[in-house]
């Protein structure tokens, strides 16, 4: 009886930690300090150990969750995301006086949902996991109840999220109607049998699923919620959702579209081609015009979604490995960057305009250096991990014959360097405002350590990527 639980042990650990956090919060007196954050760390370590034990075992639970290496790699990324997010959240929770149990419980529940989404092999379970992670994230976006902006951002995110999940579900309904099953490998076999005579229903099913996924990975033209939600949420939450949701959604996206719906690739590859191109171009061009760093990073996140779509449309094994490596690099880099934004925020001021970063080098030299690392990695500069990640994605695209798309990708990433460099120039060349010098707060130790660790990881992945790359490439064989 217990063998069937093996594949879900990582998410069980995280869920248990989440529940413990919730119950602890229920019995916490007002103002009583309680180590709820460390509780989450314990759960995540449990998840990490079980992920390591499950590696190469290909365990299956109840026929709907498969812990294959692809899913486990994404689970590992999510564990890294979780640990870094917990570390950079701690000062935010203190400063804003947020109910800590609620905050960490929501974060852990949403992490469990992300892990489920990455390993689920049944469309219905993917939908449920998507909802588990989204509902928790909507609340996290609006967790600052006294902030009107937070409530508005949460509402917009909720509205478009609920709207898109209805489309996703409608797509599942048509897949179920066509094949009589929601299980991915049965859907794959039956779709392959029907592929020769694909009618309007197949196209409708694929289109609706595509709309649902495109919303979640914020692909153009379904990206409208991204900058608003990213700006409204506390930066620690933004870092968490921009990386975690992307990793989970792309894992499911790859699983659904490159295995179950692969037989219909002729029908969807051109649509995804257009989506990828539009996402890369719009994310970059609009990003240039932003004055808020959070909005700039939101559009950068849109553009990065475009590069990942580029890998998806390429569809070969190299591309799947590239997606995994890219997700890891993007997660660590973006969390680091949002960690810096988070520690520079004060109770009254977001300090997120580009001009607020003027002269950061003279006031917080270490933070300025770290921010430089992260921004260069996001832009894809050679010694950083972002360069290797982009290189592999473009190589996979060229290998698959999508030369034009790769050219668009290279051009947009060259343009994107402009807006990352603008911040860097601001940090080093400009003198700080007389008043910002005093308002920038001191850096909390834990968050500072998380930022330094993120920077070290991207340096390591940039200089010696071979091991992790091989690991990523090896884990894509045998995706269900």
């Amino acid at each position: 009886m217990f063998a069937s639980f093996h594949a879900i042990v990582p998410m069980l650990c995280v869920t248990a930690a989440g529940f413990a956090a919730m119950v602890a919060e229920a019995f916490r007196e007002k103002g009583e300090p309680m180590p709820i954050g460390p509780l989450g760390v314990v759960g995540l370590i449990g998840a990490a150990v079980s992920t390591a034990l499950l590696w190469d075992r290909h365990a299956t639970s109840f026929g709907v969750v498969t812990a294959d290496n692809f899913g486990l790699f994404v689970t590992a990324i999510l564990i890294v995301v979780g640990l870094l997010s917990l570390a950079i959240s701690a000062p935010t929770v203190e400063r804003e006086g947020l109910p800590r149990g609620e905050y960490y419980a929501l974060m852990l529940f949403s992490l469990a949902g992300m892990m489920l989404m990455a390993t689920a092999t049944d469309l219905l379970v993917i939908f449920l996991a998507l909802e588990v992670l989204s509902l928790a994230i909507y609340v996290l976006t609006g967790i600052r109840r006294d902030s009107q902006m937070g409530a508005e951002g949460a509402f917009k995110y909720f509205l478009l999220g609920g709207f898109s999940s209805a489309f996703f579900l409608y797509g599942i309904a048509f897949v179920y109607g066509l094949t009589g099953s929601t299980h991915l490998d049965r859907v794959g076999t039956l779709m392959a049998a029907q592929a020769t005579s694909s009618g309007p229903l197949q196209i409708l099913a694929v289109g609706l699923l595509l709309v649902g996924f495109a919303f979640k990975v914020s692909a153009v033209p379904f990206h409208m919620w991204t900058p608003d939600a990213y700006e409204a949420a506390p930066p620690a939450v933004t870092g968490f959702m921009s990386t975690g949701v992307k990793a989970a959604a792309f894992a499911a996206f790859v699983r659904v579209f490159l295995s179950a719906l692969e037989p219909l690739i002729g029908g969807w590859s051109e649509i995804v081609w257009v989506l990828a191109a539009a996402t890369m171009i719009l994310g970059t061009v609009v990003g240039v015009a932003q004055t808020s760093i959070k909005r700039m990073l939101a559009y950068s996140s849109v553009a990065h979604g475009g590069y990942l779509l580029l890998a998806l449309v390429s569809g070969n094994d190299t591309a799947k490995g590239a997606v995994l490596f890219y997700l890891l690099v993007y997660a660590v880099t973006n969390l680091g960057a949002f960690g810096i934004i988070s520690v520079l925020e004060t109770r009254d001021q977001a300090n997120d305009r580009v001009t607020d970063y003027a002269g950061l080098w003279s006031t917080h030299p270490t933070l300025a250096l770290m921010m430089t690392f992260f921004l260069l990695s996001l832009g894809g500069f050679p010694p950083m991990a972002g360069f290797i990640a982009k290189w592999y994605v473009f190589a996979a695209a060229i290998h698959a014959g999508y030369v034009w798309l790769a050219i668009i990708g290279v051009l947009t990433s060259v343009v994107s360097v402009f807006f990352y460099l603008r911040v860097i120039v601001m940090m080093y060349m400009s003198a700080p405002d007389a008043d910002t010098r005093t308002t920038l707060p001191a850096v909390p130790q834990l968050a500072g350590a998380a930022i330094v660790i993120s920077a070290l990881i991207i340096l390591y992945l940039g200089v010696l990527p071979t091991r992790v790359l091989e690991w990523a490439a090896a884990s894509v064989s045998g995706i269900i």
Partner: protein
Amino acid sequence: MIAVGIAFAVTMLGLSSLLGPRKPTPEKLAPYECGMPPVGDARERQSVKFYLVAMIFLLFDIEVAFLYPWAMALRDLGWAGYVQVLLFMLLLLAGYVYVWRKGVLDWGAEST
């Protein structure tokens, strides 16, 4: 049959509206509210408590939807099914305890 029914209803309603006496008074024209004279504005602000309780009802109401199928297949599912439902209820209980401790269910005057 349906035609006869419709015709009967239409005839009766028509006759009563043609033949019935009509003396409108302000009380008669006011919207009917369980016999009492209407007090205040219908768009009065409600306490947020009501919304909270409605929300919680919504969630705990749906859980029963999962208990009916289980009850129908109780014998087939055996102890494994029992343990699973117990776990499900325990998780909901944790949520209930949370709601309780957070004071959502306090209706006393002293709570805010």
